[in-house]
Symmetry: C2
Subunit: 136 residues, 2 copies
DNA sequence: TATGCACCCTGTAGCAACTACAGGGTCAAG
DNA sequence: CTTGACCCTGTAGTTGCTACAGGGTGCATA
């Protein structure tokens, strides 16, 4: 399959596929006589793995480790679990942070009573951390 | 006050202060005879505004608009409210996304039973979107 | 007086993870 | 035989910083 087909099959931008190849996340595919990239099912599976992992928020380096692991079926699975667990912890931390932030923003937005900028409670709140209820 | 003092007073990296000046978020300060930047209270207040807004997740461009607004006290406050409300909506959207993601990751991590990579449920789940319960 | 040290300056390059060209080649249909 | 869709390489841009390299300044101490 050519790069456009792989792109459609996986919902990945063509430029992104070439980028993944450039950084060594995807192997270099064979080329046709016209120097077009030619992909097979293993490429598609690997790209699907990468995209799915990216959607779940794993970094490229984490994905590299996970791919290394799956390329070596005899290795112990615990590293995959460790990477995923650590990532889960980061996501939970991010949710906690954003929740504080949302509460703060809700308070700030709620203060708006219209009028001119000189009296704007939103602008006032942004300039003065003292109005905040939580650390962020 | 010199840049190091401003840095300590606002908890902002020196390089970041110079970066904000370069992109026009902070005005160019006066210079001493030795060409050192010399800041006053208005600079500190403006930088505090910027940092606080950044902590709340506003983009540089949003902050630019908010600063323009506060520089012109006669303008209507509604744009500030609009920017903050839109940002709040984005934060809520992000929380919702991350919550789905967290649930998916929790499911994936929970599947790990140890063993070798060939049988790894984590790696399997990453390679196959079909295991997922929600869109992400 | 020398010298160390903390601080300041400019300018440029790097980070993540793409995205967007510019400027060209290939191929099948009408 | 030309039009249009597709492909190629290489480079530069995005956001919001951060990290140098290579230099100058200012003050205290030996």
């Amino acid at each position: 399959m050519k790069i456009g087909e792989l792109s459609r099959a996986t919902g990945t931008n063509i430029e992104t596929i070439r980028y993944y190849e450039r950084i060594g996340l995807l192997p270099e595919p064979d080329r046709t006589a016209a120097n077009y990239r030619s992909y097979g099912d293993p490429h598609r599976a690997r790209l699907t793995f990468v995209r799915h992992s990216r959607e779940l928020g794993f970094t490229i380096e984490e994905i590299r480790s996970l791919l290394d692991l799956s390329d070596d079926p005899a290795r112990d699975c615990s590293e995959a679990d460790r990477i995923a667990s650590r990532h889960l912890a980061q996501v939970e931390e991010k949710i906690a942070q954003l929740t504080l932030l949302r509460d703060e923003l809700t308070r700030i937005v709620g203060r708006c009573r219209g009028g001119v900028a000189a009296d704007c409670r939103v602008i006032e709140a942004l300039g003065d951390h003292g109005h905040c209820e939580s650390a962020h």
